[in-house]
């Protein structure tokens, strides 16, 4: 099994401007020192509340945003600073599917044009050849042939998302960044789309980076989960492990907040106080002001590093020290 994507110490800061001359007065740390790896053919879930930086990470991987620092390795190659020409080739390998299907499709193009455009850009395919490929793609995602000349507004949300998926598949990518692909959809349609994504993954050997705030969906889709809080990863582990034995207090609270459709479910409901706030005590743990767990002296003063607290289970919390001192230096 090979590492398809490797992110090392990725940072993305946005400038906060102010003052008389509108100079940069501070940084807004949207993504702050994030590292993870994604194995080929697997699905990694990137979970967090709004404002946690999950979409920013996705955009940095596609180089739609320039990272402030850090390294992005795709298939062993450093793509953090590659030039526009190489970037274009890369974009046929990495594709993105967006949250709002209606907004991500051009309303003045027909379905055939939308799905055919990447074929022209990347493979110079036109005319009948392109048409055949587009129709083939449309069958793959469950659209009908007669939809070819229709416009996006004539479709329901679920169908629009299928168009977006077909467009992403057109260039035969290996990695797809899925940014909340189902959060705008109804549950019955969400189930259809999730199943379609799984079928496509098996069929075309795709690797997914699955960005979502819905832990129920993540549990269903992902092999591994990384939890983000204020631009930092707080916990990474295999999906079963995260849901069975969450270690970080934030993860525990999030899991207990999943609204499960089972009225008999008895569980301790952890309600965390307050809201996501970017003004946490500098130097300390970003989650400390809302944390419900036992508080240590170091919580407010020392930033907990992401360490391997159990085999393949990384946690950034002072309550969970590393397995051994040697594994502390380099998170896998």
């Amino acid at each position: 099994m090979s590492r398809l994507l490797e992110i090392n110490h990725l940072k993305k800061y946005f400038p906060i401007r102010g003052g008389l001359l509108n100079r940069q007065v501070a940084d807004f740390r949207a993504v702050d020192d994030v590292s993870f790896t994604l194995q080929e053919g697997k699905t990694l879930g990137l979970v967090g509340e709004s404002g946690s930086g999950k979409t920013t990470i996705g955009k940095c991987i596609l180089r739609l945003l320039e990272p402030t620092s850090g390294q992005i390795l795709y298939d062993g190659q450093d793509i953090t600073h590659i030039k526009a020409r190489e970037l274009r080739r890369l974009r046929s390998e990495i594709q993105m599917i967006y949250q709002a299907p209606a907004a991500s499709l051009n309303g003045r193009m027909t379905v055939g044009q939308i799905i055919g455009e990447p074929l022209w850009i990347h493979e110079k395919l036109r005319g009948d050849d392109a048409r055949d490929r587009v129709l083939e793609l449309m069958t793959v995602v469950g659209l009908k042939e007669e939809h070819y000349y229709r416009y996006p507004h004539e479709f329901s949300g679920g169908q629009q998302q299928r168009i977006g998926i077909a467009r992403a598949l057109a260039v035969q990518p290996r990695l797809i960044v899925l940014d909340e692909p189902t959060s705008a959809l109804d549950v019955s349609v969400q189930a259809q789309i999730l199943n379609l994504l799984q079928d496509l993954q098996d069929q075309f050997d795709l690797t997914y980076l699955f960005i979502s705030h819905d832990l129920g969906v993540v549990r269903y889709m992902c092999d591994e989960v990384a939890l983000l809080y204020l631009g930092k990863i707080v916990e990474v582990a295999k999906t079963e492990v995260i849901f069975e034995e969450p270690k970080h207090p934030y993860t525990q609270a999030l899991i207990s907040a999943i609204p499960e459709p089972d009225p008999d479910l008895q569980r301790e409901e952890i309600i965390i106080r307050g809201d996501l706030s970017h003004t946490f005590p500098q130097g300390g743990c970003p989650f400390a002001p809302r944390c419900h767990a036992e508080k240590l002296a170091s919580c407010d003063s020392v930033l907990p590093p992401l360490l391997e607290a159990d085999q393949g289970h990384l946690v950034a919390c002072h309550l969970h020290p590393a397995l051994s001192a040697s594994s502390a230096s380099e998170p896998a």
Partner: protein, 341 residues
Amino acid sequence: MADLLNIEDLHLEFHTYDGVAKVLAGVDLKMQRGDVLGLVGETGCGKSMTALSVPRLIPMPPGKITEGRVTFDGEDILSKSESEMESFRASHLGMIFQDPVTNLNPLFTIREQLVDAVLYQQARGQRVPGRWKGFLPSVRQLRSEAQERAVELMRLTGIPDGDKRIFEYPHQFSGGMRQRVLIAMALAGDPDLLIADEPTTALDVTIQAQILRLIRSLVKQLGLTVLLITHNLGVVARSCERVAVMYSGRVVEESPVRELFKNPKHPYTRGLINAVPQKDVSRGGLIGIPGMIPNLINPPAGCRFHPRCEQAMEICRRQVPAAIAVGAEHKASCFLYPEDA
């Protein structure tokens, strides 16, 4: 006990350029004092329209109620005049909506908006009729009383430092806090019925849990009756006592919460429950409902669910099923169940 709210055979149409959309096609719904009823369904099934028909906030035209009755505490709502409706809304109803951002005016402080709500409810509500008519010198007094009440409401809805934060503007509040402000406004008139239309859909899960807990505690503390509209079955399982499932303009199943999840009868309800990714569903095990929601201008004849139903029979294509008792307090509108069961 008499019903607090009774919606009978409500039909609602919308006149559009493409034709007449039959948005509600015979909704029956009853609520008693102290009920917490969840109204569940997907986009376009008419759950919000059903709820908006109680405060009569549906724009008419283009909307038109063609049949049916809505009674609240024995009073017929549909025959009231607009000014009667205003005082009815102020004294009996509270509403909260999905998006806490667009429901607060960004140009005014929380104090101005909340105090306005309190004063309005006092002036319009039946309980304090015309209280400040002829007492103009005491308006200032009334305002300060209303402000005390507003701070009290903020405390009740869990906003810390209400006496200070009341001077802030909406943008200084987070999404969860804004929703609490809206709940405080809805409670200003001491309503008999709180209608919550997707109150947590725009919020993060942790904040959603906070708001649901708040609503539950208000039910206990104030004996509120709540109509909770949501598309999220998990929210219903956590917060409600009874559930009504809607599909394309009708209530297709109604039952106590536990019964509905343990023993769903209508094929649509089953499909909906199976479509939620749950704990023990493994890869590939999720079952969606094939097809999509029907067009409301040309809805399918008979049971509107039959084109997507795997158990559809000949009769489903011709006839609309009536609600049948399928258990204790459990009703379903489906031909799969014999009439006299």
